[in-house]
């Protein structure tokens, strides 16, 4: 594995390899070991052309815990905001000796363009490209589910996960559908018809417009953030109607299985797609997702950077 661009191009072995590595590293994180020398001397560049605090900090923490040097290149005030092209940015990073670039960008496919064009020789890690994919988020979500409900298995066979919200614009949804299906879980997408893409019939998942119908049968529910802009862009009448049909409130939470997990990639619109009560409930693993994110990102960096640069196998 030279890059992590998408779940689409990931094999089951690679995915499970990252999950297993993350499991060991999370033990390391929970226990006494906080810093490892493994990536000492390596430079990881965070190229965040789109604003993000949590993902960037997560990757930064992951890199630093492995003793890598981290350089942050964020949108505001950087040459990207002044119109420097992706190509020139990449060649600058190459000149700086970046071993890996973690890229978040508003253009779908930006990570792949960076990797394919060979403007730089390091590993490319997609931290979210437009509305295409967000692989590390999906991996940390799968990690969280496996940890709680996996019963020691390496995959997610037999589990049923619902993903609720703005599927049309969500890279988190795309990556999650692909990874959960790859690991053997059953996936149901829940959204109003306006927020589902044409062509979704070919995805490895079910689709329903009726949130209440899936509540009793799912093992985990993943709520997606709904952006305020969607309301002005005519996707649904108003926030009230959206919450009424697609919001996870206390009443809906009661209809879930007692073991069902409540998840959200963040940041949350408390009161819109998820009520405060639900977000703070004992069944919510939302904050745990964040710390799992660091372990998972450490695993990704380890798999891509620790081994020989010539012999890019997987675990």
């Amino acid at each position: 594995m030279k890059h992590l661009l998408s779940i689409d191009h990931l094999t089951v072995q690679e995915a499970v390899g990252i999950l297993d590595t993350a499991t060991e590293l999370s033990r390391v994180n929970d226990g006494q070991l906080k810093k490892l020398p493994t990536l000492r001397g390596r430079t990881v560049v965070n190229l965040f052309a789109e604003d993000s605090t949590r993902t960037r900090i997560s990757f930064e923490a992951a890199a630093k815990r492995l003793s890598a040097d981290v350089i942050n290149f964020s949108a505001k005030g950087s040459s990207i905001s002044k119109g420097e092209s992706l190509k020139d940015t990449a060649m600058t990073l190459q000149a700086m000796g970046a071993d890996a670039v973690v890229i978040r960008h508003s253009a779908s496919g930006a990570a792949q363009r960076l990797a394919d064009n060979q403007w730089m020789s390091g590993a490319v890690i997609n931290a979210g490209d437009g509305t295409h994919e967000h692989p590390s988020q999906a991996i940390l979500d799968a990690f969280t589910i496996r940890k709680h409900l996996g019963k020691g298995a390496s995959d997610l066979q037999g589990l049923h996960v619902a993903i609720v919200g703005d599927i049309l614009h969500s890279r988190v949804a795309r990556s999650n559908v692909l990874l959960l299906a790859l690991l053997g879980a059953k996936v149901t997408l829940v959204a109003p018809p306006t927020l589902l893409p044409i062509g979704i019939e070919k995805w490895p998942c079910n689709v329903t417009y009726d949130f209440d119908s899936v509540l009793p049968v799912i093992d985990a529910v993943m709520m997606l953030r709904v952006q305020q802009e969607r309301m002005t862009e005519l996707f649904f009448p108003n926030a009230r109607e959206y919450s009424r049909y697609y919001g996870l409130n206390a009443e809906r939470m009661r209809k879930l299985k007692p073991t069902a997990l409540i998840m959200h990639p963040g940041p949350m619109n408390r009161g819109l797609e998820i009520s405060a009560e639900v977000a703070d409930s004992a069944r919510s693993v939302i904050t745990e997702q964040v710390s799992n994110g660091v372990s998972v990102r450490m695993a990704i960096l380890y798999v891509l950077l620790a081994g020989s640069p010539l012999d890019v196998g997987s675990i």
Binding site: D8, L86, A107, R113, R171, P197, I198, G199, K202, W203
Partner: protein, 435 residues
């Protein structure tokens, strides 16, 4: 430069083997065994001769975007591809919405001297879609404009489209519509379908094109005017045009070579070399377009040659410009998709790529029958040879061809424009002083 040539043993579009003599700009003989006198003899045995190709949809970028292409470089690219006439679209800078700009483009074409450059006039001022441009003045100018198009933009306001269709009746002009409902395609990047959903690229639904085609054929019928639909890309659009023709509506349509070959799955690489307006569609659409072209429901092939500078294509998909080169590969793509697949004969190719476009544009000296007395606008193609597309070797100033590395059939060996050889041995010649 010689002006007397004879093409020996060349195959006419209908398959007959003849010698063709060219003298003083016209075809002076078409016979079985011509005895050359001071003619330059070209051994064309095994090759096919067609009337010089006529493109009704070319972006020559001059004035305003000379970094991508000029009338001169575009003419050379056209000659290389076997064209003897190009129609320069109006979305230049300044827009070709006055007699002044179209006359400038016309003169640049004459000075370059490789082929006829027929400027197309904008339908609306500045392509803004608000008021009609100086259509009459452009028609009366030395550019003698007969085709009007806002291509790049759609004439979206139905009332304005109606007025335009009516107005050009005065001089037998035609409105060429770029069918794209702007409200259904805000920020759209590629065909809306399975692939766009997977790639996270905003979709461009087929209905955005088809709804405008439907509206405009009805308008053309209502006001009894002539309509031309640019770059048809969907099976649905073909059906609407078929319906319209059945009712006797005066509509013609064009398809680009790239829409005969490429499909939307090319976008999976996110390489914006495949980003084009209208977008690449599905293989069902490609098959419908090929059949429609063979049948004549789609009347012509038009390249929509759209040169762009390197930096406009070497970036993320969303940032990239829409468009592909087309002049130098058009005939080969048509041979590959239509002739070699037995969907069309060479005679039909001559019609779709020369006579029919000439007729639609009113270009009297183009698309003539290969017969004694006709203007010598000819292209000779060796259909049995293959060649490899190399973006660094284009005659065009730009390099944005989607076919780089592809091996295509059919090598243009000679192009004749008004009896002068613009291409000899596949090499574009120097014409006049302007190089």
């Amino acid at each position: 430069m010689s002006s007397k040539y004879v093409l020996k043993s060349v195959l006419l579009p209908n398959g007959d083997k003849r010698d063709i003599a060219i003298e003083d700009g016209v075809i002076s003989a078409v016979s079985e065994n011509f005895a050359p006198t001071s003619h330059v003899v070209i051994d064309a045995s095994g090759s096919r001769v067609l009337p010089g190709l006529v493109d009704l949809h070319t972006h020559l970028r001059e004035p305003g975007r000379e970094d991508a292409e000029t009338v001169l470089t575009g003419s050379r690219a056209g000659a290389k591809g076997g064209f003897t006439a190009l129609s320069a679209m109006a979305n230049t800078s300044p827009v070709a919405d006055t007699a002044g700009v179209v006359e400038q483009v016309y003169r640049l074409g004459q000075e370059a001297g490789y082929l006829d450059v027929f400027p197309i006039g904008a339908v609306t001022k500045g392509l803004m879609g608000e008021s009609l441009s100086e259509i009459g003045a452009m028609a009366d100018s030395i550019a003698h404009v007969r085709i009007f198009s806002d291509d790049g933009n759609c004439v979206f306001n139905p009332l304005l489209m109606r007025r335009a269709l009516e107005y050009v009746k005065k001089f037998g002009g035609v409105i060429a519509q770029h069918a794209q409902d702007p409200r259904l395609t805000i920020g759209s990047q590629m065909n809306e379908g399975e692939i766009s959903a997977r790639l996270g690229l905003k979709g461009w639904p087929a209905v955005a094109e088809e709804a405008i085609i439907a509206r405009d054929v009805l308008l053309a019928d209502h006001v009894k005017s002539r309509l031309h639909i640019c770059h048809v890309t969907t099976a649905g659009g073909v059906e609407i045009i078929r319906w319209a023709k059945d009712r006797g509506i005066n509509v013609t349509a064009e398809v680009t070579p790239h829409h005969l070959l490429l499909t939307d799955d090319r976008a999976t690489s996110y390489d914006p070399i495949f980003k084009v307006n209208p977008p690449l569609r599905t293989s069902d659409d490609v098959h419908a377009l090929r059949e429609a072209l063979a049948e004549g429901i789609i009347d012509i092939v038009a390249t929509d040659h759209a040169p762009h500078p390197v930096e406009s294509k070497e970036c993320e998909w969303q940032e990239a410009s829409f468009g592909m080169l087309g002049l130098e590969t058009a005939l080969s793509i048509v041979q590959k998709t239509m002739v070699d697949s037995n969907l069309m004969s060479w005679e039909q190719v001559a019609d779709r790529m020369s006579s029919a476009p000439a007729r639609i544009g009113g270009y009297k000296n183009q698309g003539q029958e290969i017969a004694v007395g006709s203007v010598a606008n000819l292209v000779v193609i060796d259909a049995s040879k293959n060649w490899q597309v190399d973006r660094d070797l284009t005659m065009s100033k730009a390099t944005n061809t989607p076919y780089h590395g592809l091996i295509l059939p059919g090598v243009v060996t000679h192009t004749f424009y008004k009896g002068h050889a613009t291409v000899i041995g596949s090499i574009v010649q120097k014409i006049g002083d302007v190089q």
